[in-house]
Amino acid sequence: MTKGFVAIAVERCKGCGFCVEFCPTHVLALSSAYNSKGYHAPNVIAVEKCSGCNLCGMYCPDFAIFGGRNAR
């Protein structure tokens, strides 16, 4: 079990890239997949680096992502 998790509401994402850019530990990258509106949602590429800080959630203007701590 990793320290943190990231939950992504793919359909809500508008591909702005804030979360990818400002994640302090570079957990995310824009996915090559895209949602029904044509936006590339973020993809978790390094979940083991996620601290669950929820900065991604704070930045997301579309309320499409949030992070949290896994219970120990």
Partner: protein, 296 residues
């Protein structure tokens, strides 16, 4: 053919919920804001501030004017009022005076608060009316197509200044301080933690509190001026912002590509409107003064 399955799905604990959702009317999602617009980001900060200040959400009211930021009222899961252009502050004044128990937050944009609403802003600040004013400043009138606002810096192109803005722009934090605000801060949508903290401080502080938040408008302001997208704006904020808490507001004007001074500039104690009212009335009337019992 679109591919909606992400390459790496992360395991999410059962029942995990985005902390912002209880504060939103989720049935009204998705919202109308553009990709890369920062208004939603400010809403996350506001949510965090409400959570951290353990506010009684039944007593928090949001009053907005007209514009992109004005739409915040409609999405907030609180008693909320989408009023007329420029007049959120006087509406909020009446709301607060009728029921002082309410925490009244004005959430509106730069054009709404400082052009058409300018007169109301300065008088509420003068009175030190107990309102928390969050101004999302995207340097334009976004909703109507990107016209010049009193905050639009020269010499950008706008919908109503097709050859370039030449009017001087307001320095909002200086204006707020001069008018009498008790609390004045500026952040950008890059500064999510600091913004949330400022909002929390404002919620706790009595008197007229003003927070300016610089936010990208990629679709209108930036696109017309080849300034990239929302992410480019955010990186720009990160790069050129300087935190100068306590800096003199007169030195904090914004320019097109210049330094953005952010921080908390004013945090002072002035007598609140209610204190002044009651003080004057009791001095004049003694025990003939009747405490307002306004609710019907």
């Amino acid at each position: 053919m679109n591919v909606t399955e992400l390459e790496n799905a992360c395991e999410v604990p059962a029942g995990a919920c985005n902390p912002v959702e209880p504060f939103l009317r989720m049935e009204r999602m998705p919202h109308i804001w553009c990709p890369g617009c920062g208004i939603g980001t400010t809403v996350n900060c506001f949510t965090r501030a409400l959570l951290d200040s353990k506010a009684n959400l039944d007593k928090v009211a949001v009053v907005s004017g007209i514009g992109c930021t004005g739409r915040v009222a409609g999405y907030a899961n609180l008693d909320s009022f989408h009023t007329t252009h420029g007049r959120a502050i006087p509406f909020a004044t009446g709301l607060k005076l009728a029921n002082p128990e309410l925490q009244v937050v004005v959430y509106s944009g730069d054009g709404d608060l400082f052009a058409i609403g300018g007169n109301h802003f300065i008088h509420a600040a003068r009175r030190n009316m107990d309102l928390k004013v969050i101004c999302v400043n995207n340097l334009t009138y976004a909703m109507t197509g990107g016209q010049t606002a009193p905050t639009t810096p020269g010499e950008v192109i706008s919908a109503t200044s097709p050859y370039g803005v030449f009017e001087p722009a307001f320095n909002l934090v200086a204006l707020a301080e001069a008018a009498g605000a008790s609390y004045v801060a500026r952040w950008t949508t890059y500064h999510v933690n600091q913004l949330a903290r400022s909002m929390k401080e404002a919620l706790a502080k009595k008197g007229f509190c003003f927070i300016e938040v610089l936010s990208p408008c990629p679709t209108l302001y930036q696109r017309r001026n080849k300034m990239g997208d929302g992410l480019d704006a955010m990186k720009f904020y990160k790069q050129v912002s300087k935190v100068r808490n306590g800096a003199p507001t007169s030195e904090c004007a914004l320019t097109k590509a210049g330094e953005i001074v952010v921080g908390k500039f004013v945090d002072r104690d002035r007598p609140g409107y209610f204190d002044l009212l009651k003080g004057q009335m009791t001095a004049s009337l003694g025990d003939r003064y009747a405490e307002p019992e306004i609710l019907c």
